[in-house]
């Protein structure tokens, strides 16, 4: 290896490290800042942890129960993702393994729904939820997951390639009904595609902000993003409390991501190239 090559590689590593630092330092800064008093936050550039975390946390919890928001978000995202996965599997499998009239145009319609921006119908959606008496409940967030075109597309691609039709035939010969075949034979085989899609679906639901903000009124029912947004207005001068709120919303994700990053990243890669 020549000197020039070592030099070039050194520059490349420096660049990689610089970008990595840019990605992580805001989070580090948030965590550090959350442990200091408001006066210190306002006056100093802080690099090391302080001892005010508990105090800031107490003031935050005094008016915003952020853990409650966390639990609400987990509940909504898990239930919505489960329902989303099951329907995506049903529909994707239906398109992949059954022959019926208008199959291709119907599938084209499914894909076309991806091009329609999500906010287009939001006002009518609000009115409709009002009519169904679903305002201030979790139903709107849970039910919308049932028509995710991307999930249908992923399952269909996967089923086309890796689920042999003979398997379905043998199930029929054994006297299984179509839904028994789906639940007992197909669903377990869809595992890898489901795991990949679950990541997308979950992140999408976890990050949803507009829907809970407009359909939920009760503060205790709100999801995490809405509670984080409310920190801005409720603690205008209390930066310590705002920082603690941010830390609570980030650290569990950081821990989860550290454990699952390999899976998440390969899932994103697989989903993106197929999409």
């Amino acid at each position: 290896m020549g000197i020039k090559q070592i030099f070039v590689r050194g520059i490349i590593y420096l660049f990689l490290i610089a970008v990595a630092v840019t990605c992580l330092i805001p989070f580090y800064s948030m965590i550090i800042t959350s442990t200091h008093t408001n006066t210190d936050i306002a006056q100093k550039l802080l690099f090391l942890p302080g001892d005010q975390l508990a105090e800031n946390y107490k003031r935050l919890m005094g008016s915003v129960n952020i853990w409650r928001g966390f639990a609400n978000s987990v509940f909504v995202a898990v239930v919505a993702t489960a329902l989303d996965l099951y329907t995506a599997a049903l529909v994707g499998y239906g398109f992949s393994k059954f022959k019926f009239r208008f199959r291709n145009p119907l599938f084209a319609i499914v894909l076309a729904t991806m091009m329609v921006p999500g906010q287009l119908g939001i006002i009518g959606f609000y009115k409709l939820m009002d009519t169904f008496h679903m305002l201030d409940t979790y139903w709107p967030m849970i039910l919308t997951g049932m028509s995710n075109a991307f999930g249908v597309f992923m399952v269909k691609q996967f089923a086309d390639e890796s689920i042999p039709s003979e398997l379905i035939e043998s199930g029929r010969i054994d006297g299984y009904g179509e839904f028994q075949i789906f639940n007992r034979i197909i669903l377990p085989l869809l595992g890898p595609a489901m795991a990949t899609y679950a990541i997308f679906a979950f992140i999408g639901k976890w990050n949803d902000f507009l829907t809970p903000m407009i359909v939920l009124f009760d503060n205790n029912k709100q999801t995490l993003p809405v509670m984080i947004a409310s920190l801005r207005s409720q603690f205008t001068a209390d930066f310590g409390a705002q920082y603690v709120g941010i830390v609570i919303s980030v650290v569990p994700i950081l821990v989860f991501f550290s454990a699952m990053s390999k899976r998440i990243i390969s899932g994103v890669a697989a989903g993106a190239v197929k999409g």
Partner: protein, 292 residues
């Protein structure tokens, strides 16, 4: 063949959940929004039909044109650096000699899984002119003497909004690009190596042209997503003279804060048309470069 005909009924049964759910939760609200856009409705009384009044108002609404401009500026400022950084990093991380590939990919991807709202609040705090760490840092290293009032400047407001988006999405695009590069058959690279091509020649002549479909995917999704910018910019605020306000922020504020639902519905359709136009332009532009 009789069994095939029977099975077809099951086919419709299996695919029906999507169509039922989309009709009820997607299509009906979209059509209902269209209806509301031809009415006057404050959310309490019954909607009254007013014809094209909302659309006439929209055509003369300078606020709306301003939000289109803001959204486009924020989008361009975020997408250009985003794609360049993502591509550069993808080319680097695709090299065999790099150690710790997985670590770097994970770190670069991490901002993408954080809720945009959280990132919006984080950046708002970091760039706060009195207490934010950015000003303190800049003052400490002597770049500036007095704190900069970032959100009091239209261009800084937009650039900060664009930075949040860029910072959040470059890692996602990076993963997409790497996945695209890895799906290029290795024989192509081996052949280039045999022919004595340099690394930059390989990148320019082979990798980038073969990534064209991936670019198309990224650009189209980014137009649709980028023109719907909402969460993070909302947390950063409207900026001076509404310079940081995006189209969807305007829709949200009109409908759910000023309770002018019917005008909000017209804005929603205005945004829809603009997104369609820009998607068509992008699709056309990428096709044209393909033919050239």
């Amino acid at each position: 063949m009789k069994s095939k005909v029977n099975k077809s009924v099951y086919g419709y049964l299996f695919i029906s959940p999507f169509f039922i759910a989309y009709t009820v939760m997607g299509l009906v609200p979209i059509l209902y929004t269209l209806y509301l856009s031809f009415t006057k409705w404050d959310g309490f009384t019954n909607p009254i039909y007013v014809g094209f009044a909302n659309y006439e108002r929209l055509l003369h609404d300078t606020f709306f044109y301003q939000t289109i401009g803001n959204t486009l500026i924020i989008w361009i400022f975020s997408i250009v650096p985003q794609l360049i950084i993502a591509l550069l990093l993808a080319l680097i991380l695709n090299e065999k000699f790099i150690k710790g590939k997985h670590f770097f990919r994970a770190v670069f991807y991490f901002p993408h899984i954080i809720t945009p709202i959280t990132l919006g609040v984080m950046f708002a705090l970091m760039f706060d002119w009195q207490t934010g760490s950015i000003n303190m840092l800049l003052m400490k290293i002597g770049v500036i003497h007095d704190p900069i009032h970032w959100f009091n400047n239209p261009w800084w407001s937009r650039i900060i909004a664009a930075s949040v988006i860029c910072w959040q999405y470059f890692g996602f695009n990076l993963i997409v690009f790497i996945a695209g590069m890895q799906s290029i058959p290795t024989e192509v690279f081996e052949a280039a190596e045999v022919d004595g091509a340099s690394k930059s020649q390989v990148a320019w002549r082979i990798t980038l042209p073969l990534l064209r479909p991936v670019f198309l995917f990224t650009l189209i999704t980014s137009v649709i997503g980028g023109l719907q910018l909402f969460d993070a910019p909302l947390m950063l605020g409207d900026g001076p003279g509404n310079s940081g306000r995006t189209m969807i922020m305007y829709l949200y504020e009109t409908a759910f804060k000023s309770f002018d639902y019917s005008y909000g519905a017209a804005i929603a359709y205005g945004i829809f048309i603009i997104i369609m136009i820009f998607t068509a332009i992008t699709a056309k532009a990428t096709k044209m470069t393909k033919e050239a």
